[in-house]
């Protein structure tokens, strides 16, 4: 139980062990651990960035939605206006058409009346002629009295 040369062997072993630990355990492990720390820090900051981007996108989307809503309302009111306009136009058109048709019909009626009156006149003339012939007992020379007859027709 006294100190002997084992001491030197153990000192050499210890020195080797320290060298080994430094080279093959401590250095690679701390390197790897630092790398991991870096990764975690990066990941966290990236996550934060992503969160901020998400928030931005959300507000942006909200803005877009409200804009779209406004637009929709605008479009709706425009359509409403246009609708009433169209209806109004159609009403006006219809009224005008109706008037036009009425006017045309009236004109036609007038024409018809005139034609009937003309016919009636001619017929009345011939009847009058026939009557006169019968009264006079002889044929009236149509040609001779044509002027007279024409005057008569005009008078009726």
């Amino acid at each position: 139980m006294s100190i002997n040369a084992t001491l030197f062997v153990q000192m050499i072993t210890f020195a080797l062990f320290v060298w080994f630990t430094m080279k093959f355990v401590w250095t690679p492990l701390t390197k790897v651990m630092d790398e991991r720390n870096q990764r975690i820090t990066d990941g966290l900051s990236a996550a934060e960035k992503g969160q901020r981007a998400e928030e931005d996108a959300k507000t942006q989307a909200q803005l877009e939605i409200s804009k779209a809503k406004e637009q929709a309302i605008e479009i709706l009111s425009k359509t409403e206006k246009r609708k009433t306009e169209i209806i109004e136009e159609a009403k006006n058109d219809a009224k005008a058409e109706a008037e036009r048709i009425i006017v045309a019909a009236k004109a036609e009626i007038e024409q018809e009346v005139n034609r009937a009156r003309e016919q009636l006149r001619t017929q009345v003339a011939s009847i009058a002629m026939a009557g006169a012939a019968k009264v006079l007992g002889k044929e009236i020379d149509e040609k001779a009295h044509a002027d007279l007859l024409g005057q008569l027709v005009k008078e009726i």
Partner: protein, 264 residues
Amino acid sequence: MAASGDLTSVEYIQHHLKNNSIGDGFWTLNLDTIIFGWLTFALVAFAAFRMRKSLTAGTPSGIQSFLELIVEFVGGQVKSIFTEANKLVAPLAMTIFVWVFLMNAMDLIPVDLIPKILSWFGVDYVKPVPTTDLGTTFALAISVFAIIIYYNIKFKGPIGYIKMFLFHPFGKWLMPVNIIMTTIEELAKPVSLGLRLFGNMFAGELLFLLIATLIVIQALIPLQIVLGLGWAIFHILVITLQAFIFMLLSTVYLSLASQTLDDH
């Protein structure tokens, strides 16, 4: 077991406390101490090489996460004591912690197991716990002491180191006292480091041996089992604590050595 047969308790204990050695006088080599020291080293080397294959900055697994745990623990301790950036101190502290722990842990192997197995191969004496050998504890202590002196000279300068002996702790009017005090203070560091570890581990080993001798009386076998188990469980604490203390004190001494005189 070994206590049976023709050995008395005293002979049994003496038998177990004898190193397997070659050589004479000072130039004796305790082969068991050296070989078990190397075996524990080899264990760490094996673990390190296994780890190198799958070393990753991603999720660590198996050996890597275990070694990272130690690195983190030792690194934290060293960083809190040794404020300056230094490449050597942290790996040194980790080596001390791991190696001392593993050598201490040999104590948890049943005291008769290794000697019995080796006795079948014709090996008469074996003491498997290297830290119960003063050669090991003082090898560590003297190595640390050498680095302490190196750091003193490196950081304080040769003149600063001599000044520390002359003017510390009582100022320049008590110079002779200072020299004696500082010398004692400095020498106490390796001596206390080496003896503390040796004393604790030797006492632990001796207690295991004493418990093992209970087997001579048949009625005491249950008591032996209970005591052996109890002491082994308690000893887990002791071996870890001793490894930790050795590491921590070495770091503190090195930190003191690396301070300049103004810091004192």
